[in-house]
Amino acid sequence: MLATLIRNLFLGAGAALALGSLPVRAADPGVTDTEIVIGLHAPLSGPLAAFGVDALNAAKMWYEEVNKKGGINGRKIRLIVEDDKCNPNETVLLDKRLVTVDKVFLINGGSCTPAVFAAQEFITREKVPFVMLNAAGDSGVFPATRYMFGALGGTQRSNGAGMVEFAFNTLKARRMAFIIHDDDFGNANWATAKAITDRLGVQVVAAERISPRVTDVTAPMLNIRAAKPDVIISAAYPQPAVLIAQKYGEFKMTAIPLVQAVQGIPVPAVFQKNVANDAIFTNFYYTAPLNDMADGPKQQKWLKMYKQYYPDRNPGAMMAFGLPSAMAVTRALEKVGRNLTREAFVEAMESLDFDTGAVAGNIQFAKGRRDGMRSTIVVKFDGKKHTVMPAVYTWNGRDGM
């Protein structure tokens, strides 16, 4: 009896040792002994492709660099790249395919807030980590949900905060005028800007809400001119931003500083060409959540790398926005080690705090915090030269919430 017990104990221990020495097998889909499958998507066609193509290429480039160096903990990354067109319904359908048919381990995707927000319920139900590519993603990260991480290029809240803080501290503006879209982007931007102006005791002399599809901004710009502000803050998209700048010049308002949010000026040279009036650059500033101008010295490393991978393509300012999310993913994967599960990955993401060398502030997540970056810089553009203003503006995480 005792001999049988001892023999069984030894057999059990032997079996446990043998099993322990086998290669680690992860239970979650998308992970094998040799690879990790990641779904990568962005708008690659349609009117919003400018936000997605270079950012997605940059993320792809980062993953390929990691693979060149041997992968992560012995596993190579395999990407499944898709076009989401920034369309919420198409994005949800696409994510369902990536998760249930392609069996990806995680999704790194999305350049538009409504699209990623639409996917949130599905990825939460399926418990699949989702790291936004370059979407501001305010509604996807506030309130925080376990599996969705985002805003690695800053939220619209941090963007709005940066513009107001800059206008208040550097331009000494006390009467501010805003021209902001009436969509989710604009709502998030305006919520923060309004909260900060209230806190600072700044007078909002005009707050013009315009459609993203607006074709004429004469009326809102005349209202702003009549309000005699110290500064005009625009959070418009590229086409409306051009219209605003044209009216700003036409109505001889150039003595008043114009601060344009980054989303309206993805490629400054194109913006300048479209405005076709260099007089507007007398007092012109734009924000950027990068650590430098898009072609500044600190960005050269990434620009060179991009040229090696995509020699035929001139990257827009959105290129560098694709890097932080891929960097965050690879860092978290490294942290987890060989026993890779989705839950362990989420916990590793929550412990990240690192400098990307690409964006204005550290990427930082925590339990209950899913917006990755809160800083922005401001660049003065005089029509010839871009000059980075000295301060970095960091949103406190409370204003506008």
């Binding site: 492709a49 249930t100 139900r125 604009g186």
Partner: protein, 317 residues
Amino acid sequence: MYGSPSYARLAPLLALVVIGIVLPPLVPQYFLSLGNTLMMYAILAVGLDLLLGWAGQFAFAHIAFYGVGVYGTVLLQSKLGIPFIPGVLIAAALAGLIAFLIAVAAIRLHSVYLALATFAFAESAQWVFNSWEGLTGGADGLRIAPPSVLGWTTGTDARAFPVIAIILALVIGATMYLTRSRLGRSLCAVRDSEHAAAVSGIDVFRTRIWAFVISGTYAGVAGGTFALFQSFVNPEAFGFSQIVLVLSMVVVGGLGTLPGPLIGAVLLGLLPEIMRTAMRGLFVWQELVYGLILILSMMFMPRGIWGLIAARGGRSK
């Protein structure tokens, strides 16, 4: 062609319900989600065809009625706690009522003028969805809680699939009876010649209004099905591109036929996914491909795919 449809014609509807019940455990969620989307578009396209193909009214407000159906069903549930079945019926009735008001206002308009007036209404409706933030969530969108259908909670594609299959079968069945009824004949008569219809004793005014109301109600029902399998809605879903998509489904499939819009919904609904998987290089040209399909259909298949099939097979509607 007239009178009650035969059992042989109704049998595929039973097959649709059986497939709806049997399929969910067997296929991945993605395919079920795709199937739900196609069935929703099928209801939308059949409804638009009643107005456009059967009654000959060139109107573009359909997508607005669909929006009323979506927001109506979702808000009745979330704000008033009204369950899905009465919710979707009320929302569809509301869509039908708004369609009635539009029809009365636009009854003297024809062709391009009717198209412009109804298009303006669709744009206004999208503006309302976008601007009425307190109710619709505005541009930020609205989270949809999983509806319960007689105690069967949907919210996932697998659970929504049988419910939508049953709704589609009911809609197709109702359309079979409708198009074979006296009203169905009146719709065709008004489409072919309002003057001839009027001298034949048909009340053209009333027939046109019925076409709008029934079509709007169908769109409202389609909106209700959206709430069964989607978890988020924002006004982008009711824009011009959606109008063009549903119109393309009807035209490419075959105007004024029942199989036509069903074929169109399946083909044009599947097209983006086929392009995404099998013709990856072409996916970025999706809108251009839609346009080409529409132009080529109008040039070479003015009666749509079903028209071509029917002509070759010598079949009637």
